[in-house]
């Protein structure tokens, strides 16, 4: 078998593509007003920045409203089955390290039916960019509570209020050894684009939680974080190396809690400086729990730490074995081990 990869890595495009080049001819079929439109526009606007040709980009999705995403991008794409996109994308990314592979998923797809695949993709650190649209509800099945819905949520399947305790996707990802974890908002195109940029630049699995409004079944779930009157009070914009301040004119601070976590501090307290690159996942985890401690909701990059990628390690191991053993010979493989020969009978033609 030849030593060269099956497909040569395609070169960079001669003329830079535009957002229009990434738009497919399919009619977009989300509900009018759905937050998915804004995310789609932001992604289409961002993809030219990757500097890759369309044919070298693949979007893989599962099932749910968000998972229709690949149909609307003129790249290669697969709309797969519920929860399995990270597994499918893992096989693709490992076997084709020359591709840029993106996973689009939702809170039900990624955290309920597909929870196992998500945590294992993060642990392995396969070169995948996972965009998790979190609207805290099941949209496509028409309004049941999801694993990120708040306890007590009244939905069609929980008329008396849900009893489940929700996942915090950022905490979950950090617990699953994720090297890159970020959160952003569907409506803040600039912030969303900056997070996509950071995720794309990260080598390995990047998990981006995107708070997405489902205006049909869970309208206004993130309104506090978006409305001009409340957002400053409730959003902490993370910046690596910057002190964690929020509130109108940045008057509020985030400080260390003696119990080990983080909590809101007083205006004149020394704010903790955000370090997204520390190898210790504890600060990022504490940050992910800040709202539970009465603090604001952080958006931005919680953690961005490099460690060897799984697909890189697979390729490297393959190269090492081939260097040591040479390319395989099927004839030698089949005829290996203890063999014996039965001669042709005397006088007959030898094979």
């Amino acid at each position: 078998m030849s030593d060269t990869p099956l497909l040569t890595i395609a070169e960079r495009p001669a003329s830079p593509p535009s957002a229009r080049d990434f738009r497919s001819d399919q009619e977009v079929r989300w509900c009018p007003g759905c937050g998915d439109y804004a995310i789609l526009a932001a992604v289409q606007g961002f993809l030219p920045e990757l500097g890759l040709r369309r044919e070298n980009i693949v979007f893989v999705s599962g099932i749910g409203c968000s998972s229709r995403f690949p149909y609307y991008l003129d790249t290669y794409g697969m709309h797969s089955i519920h929860g399995r996109a990270p597994a499918i994308a893992t096989g693709l990314a490992v076997s084709r390290p020359d591709l840029s592979v993106w996973v689009v998923t939702g809170d039900g797809d990624a955290l309920s039916i597909g929870g196992n695949h998500l945590i294992h993709a993060l642990r392995r650190n396969v070169n995948l960019k996972i965009l998790l649209f979190n609207n805290r509800i099941y949209g496509l099945t028409k309004g049941q509570y999801s694993p990120t819905s708040e306890t007590g949520k009244i939905t069609k399947s929980t008329p008396e209020g849900s009893l489940d305790h929700p996942f915090n996707p950022v905490s979950l990802a950090l617990g699953a050894e994720a090297g890159f974890v970020a959160r952003t908002l569907d409506s803040d195109r600039k912030h969303l684009t900056s997070v996509l940029r950071a995720a794309a630049a990260h080598e390995g699995t990047a998990l981006v939680e995107i708070y997405q409004n489902c205006n049909i079944f869970n309208d206004g779930a993130f309104e506090r974080l978006k409305a001009p009157g409340t957002r400053d009070e409730h959003v902490l914009r993370l910046e690596h190396g910057a002190p964690m301040r929020y509130g109108p004119a940045g008057v509020r601070t985030v400080v260390r809690d003696p119990g080990g976590g983080l909590r809101p501090g007083a205006a004149d307290d020394a704010a903790v400086v955000h370090d997204a690159h520390t190898s210790d996942p504890v600060p990022a985890f504490a940050l992910s729990r800040l709202p539970e401690a009465g603090g604001p909701t952080p958006i931005g990059v919680f953690r961005s730490v490099r460690r060897p990628t799984y697909d890189g390690a697979v390729a490297e191991q393959g190269r090492r074995v081939r260097a040591a053993r040479g390319p395989g010979s099927v004839a030698d493989l089949l005829g290996g081990g203890d063999t014996w020969t039965v001669p042709a009978p005397f006088g007959s033609e030898a094979r």
Partner: protein, 622 residues
């Protein structure tokens, strides 16, 4: 040596001991020696599901049966001529099936009061002393003591020295049957290359066993089993799992595709994962996934990217993969799903064999979801069946289920090593450019425009400029592949996917019928691993003057085009299966033939004698 050597034409030996006694290794080595000598062989490892059941108990007994002969054999034999029992439990567990007159070799050192009780004998009773072995030729050998004595010059802890008794037993049996020993000596030196003192001790125990046979009077001059005539060629012994792994590698090589295995460990399929993991230099990537679903998901993702995606499993795992197989049917991408069947339902009998996943493989999915299904018929045939599965998957852009089973997976037989150029050429024929024109005349790519012959769709892999397209599990419009909920289109697509699988039959060779006299009125039709027992039973029926025809199915969907006509030629059709009649039911539904079903689900292959009786009964009734 003046002792007389007795010539026999075939022998069945059953090596039995505790799971930790190394009986599988002894069996493997005896097999290798016998094939190198030129006998035909067929083997059957029979071990418990527990890794180490409590020592000395009945559930902990592990056995290895081998039949070797001066003629062609296709089964490991119904009953043993020689039982080697390393402890009381091994004797008790295997005495039931042993015909009177058989040789029984026991390690007397193990027949202590405690071990007898552990094996379930009443206190104070030893089968060596109570006359219950009357009618057997019992060879009471102090195997442990003799081994420890032979290894006295080695500076080994007593426990390690005792462990050499399996090699002593192998040496003794090798002497009894005049087996060549060089390969085993070389094997031991290589196996213990890092611990030369252990290598030397094992060789010494092996040699001591041989010498014991030669000096003791108890075994006469031993036996001679002449070599079996064979087609000229180069041979090796191979297990089904290894042959299957080699078939995948060879076929991927023929197709020029990198092989990607996504798999989750499961008995009895894991050895395929192990074998492929050792062959990275062939461009093989093995991915041990987090679960069965991820295993097939990753394989399908790799197929989308232009690799040959493969997943390996057993029945419970196949159940978990159903939804992804359905997606592969809808995506129409090459994918090979290997199911090494075991006893079911549920966890069932993990280490025992059965053929009860046929209907699951054919129908275990939602919707009309046709998947080609093939089955291997012998350990060596797992190679050819794997090549055929890859050929169909790649040529027709379809998932293919390849059925093996526990008996084939672990059993072994001599296998003629094929020349690489005997293997079929497999052409992936990736799409490289537009295949249609738009309404306005511009060239475009239609991912579901089909090849008129095979009905296969183009395989356009990411990285190919201009062919960007989206696929998914939603119903697709004919040709363009866009999402379509149109009723007429759905009807057309459902029928087309079925028709594509049916097209495979056009390229299949005619069925081979084995009916030497040409006058049989009874046909025995089998599939999968029943091939060996059926062939042996038919040979016996004919040797007794009867007439019977035999045919065997490799393709279960689609059936070969000439199957209906073949069934119609016989007055009676008997279908033996290790399930409750799954193929028989399919045949009755499909063809106007009243097939008769012969079934057993005991976790073991059919006994030749049972099959022979059943065939003769049907034949007598024609």
């Amino acid at each position: 040596m003046s002792q007389r050597v007795t010539s026999v034409s075939r022998v069945v030996i059953r090596f039995a001991g505790d799971s930790g006694d190394g009986m599988q290794l002894v069996g493997d080595r005896f097999t290798a020696q016998s094939t190198l000598f030129g006998n035909d062989v067929s083997t059957f490892p029979d071990f418990p599901a527990e890794i180490r059941a409590p020592g000395g108990t009945l559930p902990g007994v592990s056995a290895f049966q081998i039949q070797f002969a001066d003629h062609s054999v296709s089964t490991p034999g119904d009953a043993a001529d020689v039982l080697v029992a390393m402890n009381p439990a091994a004797l008790r567990a295997n005495l039931g099936g042993l015909p009177r007159g058989a040789d029984v070799i026991v390690d007397t050192d193990e027949f202590t009061g405690r071990n007898l009780v552990k094996a379930g004998y009443p206190a104070g009773v030893s089968p060596l002393a109570d006359g219950s072995l009357a009618g057997y030729r019992v060879h009471a050998v102090a195997l442990t003591a003799l081994t420890v004595g032979a290894l006295r010059s080695f500076d080994l802890p007593r426990r390690d020295a005792e462990r050499g008794r399996n090699m002593f037993a192998l040496g003794l049996l090798s002497w009894m049957y005049h087996r060549p020993t060089e390969a085993t000596v070389a094997f031991l030196r290589e196996k213990f290359a890092r611990r030369p003192e252990l290598a030397a001790a094992n060789v010494a125990a092996f040699t001591a066993g041989w010498n014991y046979g030669e000096t003791t009077e108890s075994f006469g001059g031993g036996y001679r089993v002449a070599s079996a005539p064979r087609e000229p060629g180069r041979y090796r012994t191979i297990t089904g799992n290894r042959a299957l792994a080699y078939g995948l590698i060879a076929a991927a090589d023929r197709a020029g595709l990198p092989l990607f295995l996504g798999s989750y460990p499961i008995t009895p399929a894991s050895d395929i994962l192990h074998e492929l993991s050792r062959q990275r230099h062939f461009g093989v990537t093995t991915f041990q996934a987090e679960d069965e679903i991820a295993g097939i998901g990753a394989a399908l993702g790799a197929s989308f990217g232009g690799s040959l995606g493969v997943t390996t499993t057993s029945g419970p795992g196949l159940a978990l993969k159903s939804e992804t197989i359905g997606l592969a049917v809808s995506l129409e991408l090459p994918l090979v799903i290997v199911d090494v069947q075991r006893g079911g339902p549920s966890t069932g009998l993990p280490t025992k064999t059965e053929q009860s996943d046929l209907l699951q493989a054919l129908y275990g999915r939602n919707g009309e979801s046709p998947v080609p299904v093939l089955a291997a018929s012998s350990p060596g045939d797992c190679f050819g069946a794997a090549v055929e599965a890859v050929r169909i998957a790649v040529t027709y852009r379809t998932p293919v289920v390849l059925l093996s089973d526990g008996y084939l997976a672990n059993g072994s037989e001599p296998w003629r090593v094929p020349e690489v150029d005997e293997l079929p050429v497999i052409a992936p024929a990736f799409a490289t450019g537009p295949n249609a024109v738009d309404a306005d005349g511009t060239p475009c790519f239609q991912p579901y425009l089909r090849d008129p012959d095979t009905l296969a769709r183009p395989w356009a892999v990411p990285g190919t400029p201009g062919l960007e397209h989206r696929v998914g599990g939603l119903e697709k419009a004919d040709r363009t592949g866009e999402i379509s909920y149109d009723a007429a289109n759905h009807d057309h697509m459902v029928r087309t996917r079925r028709a594509k699988v049916d097209r495979i039959a056009r390229g299949l060779p005619p069925l081979v019928v084995d009916d030497p006299g040409g006058r049989a009125e009874v046909l025995v039709l089998g599939w999968g691993s029943t091939a060996g027992p059926i062939a042996a039973a038919c040979t016996e029926v004919r040797a007794a003057g009867g007439a019977v025809a035999r045919a065997h199915l490799r393709h279960l969907d689609p059936f070969p085009a000439d199957l209906g006509e073949l069934l119609g030629r016989y007055r009676r059709v008997l279908v033996p299966e290790m399930n409750l009649g799954q193929l028989a039911g399919l045949l009755r539904a499909r063809y106007p033939v009243d097939v008769e079903s012969l079934t057993q689900v005991r976790g073991m292959p059919f006994k030749v004698a049972e099959l022979r009786t059943a065939i003769e009964k049907v034949a007598a009734d024609v």
